[in-house]
């Protein structure tokens, strides 16, 4: 009996102890990885010593001619981040490649971007695939994994002609003078808007806003006319209005998002978004919401809530910013006619409005990374498949099937994308705004190890700003947390 009472007391104490501990302590979890003050770590914001350009001879070679010595068919594994219709389109391309020759046979393993990135980083050297598709936020982590053959090496050894490629598509996947990944599927944010609402409000349905000032003026006209409840639907998703779009606006304004020239010349050590431009942008958006010109759909977990707001029967918005990769799917949905108030021809696509109407956009989407298997034949076979995937013909087919922007300019003159663009110019907008990007390092976007977590940090701050929090203070808090993440990443991976 006594023993029982004692053990019950122990259990009770354990619970009370946990709750007491819950009240004391504190601190941010991003700082929990620091040593007990024994090891020196990089202070957030402290600039690391400049990293010199990576010496090319230290990187793995790409023996592109080794495929000739292959005996029998080379079987390759390709880990992708594609699902649904995108995976089907990629499978069709792969089948076409496999049928076109007998030397190489490629098998796809599909997962989400996040799943593929996790699996790749956890895989042992033997269980890695031959080729892996990585989203744009994984560039620094992939470079640091020291597990791939830089495609620049393959381009050099094979004499592959990249002159037709979009310059920003290549520069997005290069740092310190090394071309690491091969751009494959490109998307960027564009303006989706209701032409019907524009016409009803007396605006020209073929002239969507280009600058932020016009965005506000037209929203005012739209709301005043009573045609829609809101001019603009915003979201605070980390891959949307909470993170990715902010990176885009910084690029349009030709400002760096992280130090080290966006991490392209030196390893990044801190974010810069809590500067005047960041405050100005977020104040602009907050004012739009406060003045009932814009509405936030929140974290947009479905990925479609902002688009659905254009078709909302009760409180619609006339415009939203959304990835161009969703265009094909959105048109397919509208074509079914389930939204009487918004049909396929009613949907207009414009460039992403930016500060002073500055053109340009950052490369979003993903790139392809040949894995250093140590086997020249497999690496050469992977390169052969890669050159097929980025040929003008394949890119033309891929762009029409999916809505992705082709990585090269000559793909728009090849069928079937040539016809797609001629019959539906809406598919052209994302390509045109990329081509208009200024020739500057800011157009290549930030490269930093924990970019995807940093987007979450900023997205949470932006969600608070949309609900009325102080702009400067929220951005400062987010910057501090982001800098902790960078510091912790650089300590373990630098």
């Amino acid at each position: 009996m006594r023993a029982r009472t004692t053990s019950r007391r122990v259990a009770a104490f354990a619970v009370v102890g946990l709750l007491v501990a819950a009240c004391s302590g504190g601190g941010d979890i991003t700082e929990s990885g620091d040593d007990d003050g024994t090891t020196t770590t990089t202070e957030p914001g402290q600039t690391l010593a400049p990293t010199t350009t990576v010496a090319p001879d230290l990187l793995p070679d790409c023996p592109t001619d080794a495929l000739e010595s292959a005996t029998g068919t080379v079987e390759l594994t390709f880990w992708t981040g594609m699902s649904g219709p995108l995976a089907e389109a990629l499978q069709a391309l792969t089948d076409e490649y496999n049928a076109s020759q007998a030397k190489v046979k490629v098998s796809l393993v599909n997962d989400t971007y996040e799943g593929t990135a996790n699996n790749y980083q956890r895989a042992s050297q033997d269980s890695r695939p031959d080729l892996v598709q990585m989203p744009e936020y994984m560039v620094q982590a992939m470079v640091d994994s020291e597990s791939t053959v830089p495609v620049g090496k393959c381009i050099d050894s094979s004499g592959f002609d990249t002159s037709a490629f979009l310059p920003t598509a290549l520069s997005a996947y290069s740092t310190q003078g090394v071309q690491w990944g091969m751009p494959f599927n490109i998307s960027n944010p564009v303006l989706y808007y209701s032409k019907k609402a524009f016409a009803a409000a007396g605006l020209d349905p073929d002239k969507p806003p280009v600058s932020l000032e016009e965005l506000r003026e037209m929203s005012q006209t739209l709301v005043d006319s009573g045609v829609v409840k809101y001019g603009l639907a915003l979201d605070s998703n980390f891959d949307g209005g909470g993170g990715w779009y902010i990176e885009q606006w910084f690029a349009k304004a030709q400002e760096y998002y992280v130090d080290g020239d966006n991490g392209r010349t030196n390893r990044a050590s801190k974010v810069l978004y809590n500067n005047d431009l960041g405050v100005e942008l977020l104040t602009f958006l907050q004012d739009m919401i406060n003045d009932n010109l814009a509405v936030s759909v929140g974290s947009n977990e479905s990925g479609q809530d902002d688009l659905l707001k254009l078709a909302d029967a009760e409180a619609p918005a006339a415009m939203t910013i959304h990835t161009s990769a969703a265009l094909r799917g959105a048109l397919d949905v509208l074509a079914t006619g389930i939204f009487p108030q918004l049909t396929d021809p009613d949907l207009g696509i414009g460039v992403m409005p930016g500060p002073d109407g500055a053109p340009g956009a950052l490369i979003g989407g993903a790139s392809l990374w040949p894995v250093d298997s140590g086997d020249p034949v497999r690496i050469a076979a992977t390169w052969d498949f890669l050159t097929f995937l980025v040929s003008a013909e394949t890119q033309s087919q891929w762009a029409t099937d999916t809505g992705y922007v082709p990585v090269r300019t000559d793909a728009v003159d090849v069928e079937p994308h040539k016809t797609t663009l001629a019959t539906d110019p809406r598919f052209r907008v994302a390509f045109d705004q990329l081509e208009a990007s200024p020739d500057a390092l800011t157009s290549a976007g930030p490269v930093v190890g924990p970019l995807s977590e940093m987007r979450v940090v900023l997205a949470d701050a932006i969600a608070r700003i949309f609900e009325g929090a102080d702009v400067k203070q929220s951005l400062d808090e987010a910057a501090e947390q982001a800098n902790n993440l960078i510091s912790s990443y650089n300590t373990s991976n630098g």
Partner: protein, 299 residues
């Protein structure tokens, strides 16, 4: 007696090897690895690690994010466990009748067992979608928050909304377990209680409930452990949001979730996972201690 027991040992070992092997490979080994990683900081590919000391466990435990997630986990258990227990018991009592066609109802009541968390969450996600969801469409007159901002987007409604989906999905399991227990209650006990003039409430309170109390305790512990481990519903319905309050970021979501800041930090997430394991043990122990003496294990 003793010699016979000794003779049985090799057989016992042989019988235990398969499950012990699975337990070792899939539970014990990962747990040991988690404890080990819990005091390390590693690079992304886990090829280089350095020891940062056991203090990492207490720093994670005391961090604002872990404390907030712990509170969410406890709230979630409080929302789901009693509700799941009472509803499971009520449905099982309803279906514990010997009438024609009761099998149909038993199948319906237990059907959520065959529904994966992903499917159940998708059903509720569509039902609750503010613009096109059926619930928002039909009931927004009574609950305006269904439409604006939407239950899954509201700071006060998100966790209860996830709890509703979770309780619904778990109801089939509770129903089956309680039904099995009810069927094992000897009929003679009910009959003699009836002869003694006990009404249906007294028979439930003095015969049924004591007889099935071991099952209810088992169910309570299992449901609590499940509640503390809930991940799928949260990942699919809210992503740990709403973003401003993180009102549904529980400990598992803090460890793995797409919106978690530590999801790529093997050291911090292993420390958090180990802490969750310890907490689950504490909660189970408290339940056994607190309710164990009221449980009637028969003769």
């Amino acid at each position: 007696m003793n010699r016979r027991r000794l003779r049985d040992i090799p057989w016992a070992v042989l019988m235990l090897v398969p499950s012990a092997g699975l337990l070792a490979v899939w539970t014990i080994y990962p747990l040991v690895r988690a404890v080990d990683y819990g005091h390390k900081q590693c690079n992304r590919t886990l090829t280089e690690c350095r020891d940062v000391g056991w203090g990492q466990f207490s720093r994670v435990f005391q961090s604002d994010q872990f404390q907030d997630a712990l509170l969410v986990s406890v709230k979630f258990a409080v929302f789901t466990v009693p509700t799941g227990l009472v509803l499971g018991l009520a449905l099982a009592m309803l279906a514990d009748k010997h009438i024609r066609g009761i099998g149909v109802f038993r199948v319906i009541f237990s059907s959520t067992v065959a529904t994966s968390v992903a499917v159940a969450s998708l059903v509720w996600f569509v039902l609750l979608q503010p613009q096109i969801g059926v619930l928002a469409d039909q009931l927004s007159g009574v609950f305006p928050s269904l439409k604006e901002p939407g239950w899954l987007n509201g700071n006060d409604t998100a966790l209860p909304a996830v709890a509703i989906s979770s309780v619904w999905a778990g109801l089939g399991f509770s129903f089956i377990v309680v039904t099995a227990a009810l069927q094992s209650v000897p009929r003679e006990l009910h009959e003699s209680a009836l002869v003694d003039g006990a009404g249906s409430f007294r028979r439930f309170w003095h015969v049924t409930l004591p007889m099935i109390s071991p099952t209810l305790l088992f169910l309570m512990v299992v449901l609590t452990t499940r509640a503390l481990q809930t991940y799928g519903e949260i990942a699919l319905l809210t992503g740990g949001g709403p973003q401003t309050t993180k009102a549904t970021t529980n400990i598992p979501y803090l460890i793995y979730g797409e919106n978690s800041l530590i999801r790529n930090d093997i050291g911090l997430k292993s420390a958090a996972a180990t802490l969750l394991f310890l907490l689950s043990g504490v909660f189970a122990a408290v339940q056994f201690r607190g309710f164990g003496k009221r449980v009637h294990y028969g003769s």
